[in-house]
Amino acid sequence: MALYVYGIVDPEEVAADQLSAVVSARCPLELVQAGTVAAITSPVGLDEFGEEELRERVEDLEWLEVTARGHEGVLEQVQQWATVVPMRLCTVYRTRESLCETLLRQEQFLREALTRLAGKAEWGVKIYVDSARDDGAAVEDQPSDGDLAEDDAEGPASDKPGADYMRARRRHAEQVEETALAVQEMCAEAHARLSAVAVDAELSRPQPPELSQHPGEMVLNGVYLVPDEEREGFAETVLQLQREHADDGTEFELTGPWPPYNFIGETFEVAG
């Protein structure tokens, strides 16, 4: 059997028998130690996790979801009592020897990561704005006779529909620009205040609206590495931001604690 690796831990923090208490869809979980680091693994077949097989599987949303939630579930449980350095989804070694070789080669990097991440967790903060507030699609369309008065709420409709149209269009463009600027400033300020409570911060790409399952428009998708003792302060910062934006349709969303997926450092081993 090949070995699926969930993450790396300090073997002094995680005893082999502790893993038997961790619930996992792929059993049994096994701790593979090499030097001063250990990998949390479970046996998998190459008929499922071979190179070619994996490429096909990844297009299967159901399989992807089960696998992703399984990966996350194991790390979440271990994270409750130990520092984990999470692996990318679907990292598989054909043999125990091959895994141990890699662990030993990367021992120093992994030890540094374990030390750096100890006592911290990743938190996510998303900001959504009310997408309706700059919705002025009506003036984008060519005006047809009769709908100009609706577009131009200021003043009575004149007998120069072309001028009215241009004026409405210009005003709309200004409003859109002002809104975008205000949102930009709000995001920059929120990110700065959240970063101040964190030891590290990154910006992820906002999720596309067709996938985010949220009626608002995501304008910030930040991730923050927060010391456990600052956890409440961080949550309080999010609540405070939300209070300040209670009436303008802005919504702050906090998720976590996550394994520190986004803070594992810049060192990647190049294949070969």
Partner: protein, 103 residues
């Protein structure tokens, strides 16, 4: 630590938004396909070049009400502006390659 849950801080003010939600698959894939260590393995999922949108996410998309094209357009505009003002998105940072295809 408890299971990562979504705390919607606006929940008090907005009845339509649940106070806590399941971790969304998108949040999870956001992290699991872009984050985590990539060290040489015999098999790695080389999905760095697969755009999330291009995965077979039709099931997810189908559950979302149809969103206006205006929303999508302004999202792209704001995304460029906001990220440009603060930092570059992680995906565009130089020196952080996708998953190497180890064999």
């Amino acid at each position: 630590m408890s299971t990562p849950a979504t705390l919607t801080t606006a929940a008090r003010a907005r009845v339509s938004v649940p106070a806590a939600r399941e971790v969304t698959l998108l949040d999870l894939l956001d992290r699991l396909l872009a984050g985590g260590i990539v060290i040489q393995a015999d098999v790695t999922l080389a999905v760095a070049d697969i755009d999330l949108v291009n995965l077979s996410l039709s099931a997810l998309v189908a559950s979302v009400d149809s969103l206006g094209r205006g929303l999508q357009r302004s999202s792209r505009e704001l995304e460029a502006g906001v990220l440009g003002a603060i930092d570059r998105p992680r995906g565009e940072r130089p020196g952080r390659p996708g998953a190497p295809e180890a064999r």
